[in-house]
Amino acid sequence: MSATERQSGDAGERPGLASGLRRAVALVAAPPRVGPLRADAFGSGLHDERPAAWLGMSLGVSFTICFATGLLSDLIQNPQAWFAWTPRPAWLYRVTQGTHVLTGLAAIPLLLVKLWVVYPRLWQWPTLRGAVHLIERLMLVPLVAGALFLLVTGVMNIGYWYAWGFGFLEGHYWAAWITIGALVVHLGAKAGVVGRVWRGGGRGALGEPRDGGLSRRGLLTGAWLASGLVVLTIAGQTVPLLRRLAVLAPRDMRSGPQGFPVNKTANDARVAETAVDPGWRLRVEGAVDRELEFTMDDLRARNLSEATLTIACVEGWSATQRWRGVPVRELVAEAGGAADAAVRVESLQTFGPYRATTLNPAFATDPDTLLALDVGGEALHLDHGFPVRLIAPNNPGVLQTKWVQKVVVL
């Protein structure tokens, strides 16, 4: 650069700054084509619109199912004025939550293959083609980050690996809203492509073999097979027919004291001593005519009811057992509480969000909603909630309160 040029640059500072800025923007929008920005950087013919669209559709379906079932589970645990969960059909929560976990697992290979297929677009050239293109690309950050975050935290959570330093429930739940919002934007951007591919159009021909490797159809089949394999090796923790195939499942529905899993032990809940205290009493109080108090012998002397009910955990495992105990509605009636009252069942646990459960009237009056003393013909194991636990049909596992000491009629 000559001295005169430098001088003229100094003299026209404002236009110099503006043109420098313009040059910087241009450099960001269309940087030199080196490395992954080269036109031929990604050789495989599989980085193509059609597999991207088919995988995208599969992911759209699976993430929508995950979002809906996840929201449902949250609503059940945090009921709103406009939403009341019901005890019937008794199998429903087991199905919706099993679906939530298994659909999420199925989405993992699909998402990874999809992102591999579209990876060259991360390095597309020019990088930016105006404001709308910028919006579209920026929205991919919450979409991809959110999708990965949801699947990673979900898989870690069903493996009981809480390594994040924040609460899983809050982190996972709110990330789902962010991700689904970004997904809506993405669908708006890709509706045209998806429609074209759905109608059999789109670039490239599915199934066309290339240089001996997987064809496009082969890639899709491979992704779906991998998904199926992941699901098949885990689903048996909630689908009895598949139990023997569940070799990679975090839970075995028949493993644990009395032949089924435990989520929180009496030691972890700090009730190992209070639960076996001979002074334990079951109290019925609240909006009642007379407060009641039962010893274990009092309860055992009663005509107990039996029901076959499932513990369906939010983590996607479930176990069905034969329970025997006192129907909650009998206790409410004996104490003179209103027949259609809601009821809070409280544990001996002194801390934790799940130390009490509120049963809405539909649950409180269901004949199968029991304070169980026995499971499978024997007294409850301490880790299953001895002396008495709540067991209700279609109730999420975390709300089947263990080590019960109090029934409060509301």
């Binding site: 083609r129 997987l214 972890d268």
Partner: protein
Amino acid sequence: MTETEGPTDGEVPHGRLWWTAVGVGVLLMAYGVYGLLGALLPEQRPRWLVWFLGGLAFHDFVLVPAVLAAGLLVRRAVPAAVRGPAQAGLLASAALVLVSVPVLTGYGRAAQPGNASVLPLDYVPNLLGVLALVWAVTTVVAVAAVLRARRARAR
């Protein structure tokens, strides 16, 4: 390579559907961010962000480049006749291994020492068994592909 086979550049989105999607989507995201800020303690927020963006960064700058490098290796090392089955076998294996990381590490079991019903299985031999099955099937498919290619050449 011809132009149509490369990464498609796509057109910049436009039209009423797109802008409606942007409006609805941004509202949903804003609700998510608002809810998140209310739900997380101040010291938890940066950790959440690290996991949120960290996963993206790890995926885009570590995982995919590694997969692309592995893909190049497969292309060089595996004969064309059996490359397809080998790629499918690798894809399935990678998915199974990734999904199994939490049960393999066993942090969940270690965190609840008194609870033998958490991660109760022997996951290392189980995973090896599933992988053996995957590669047995892959081998059968690959052998069939080689035989088919040989027969086609003989004809």
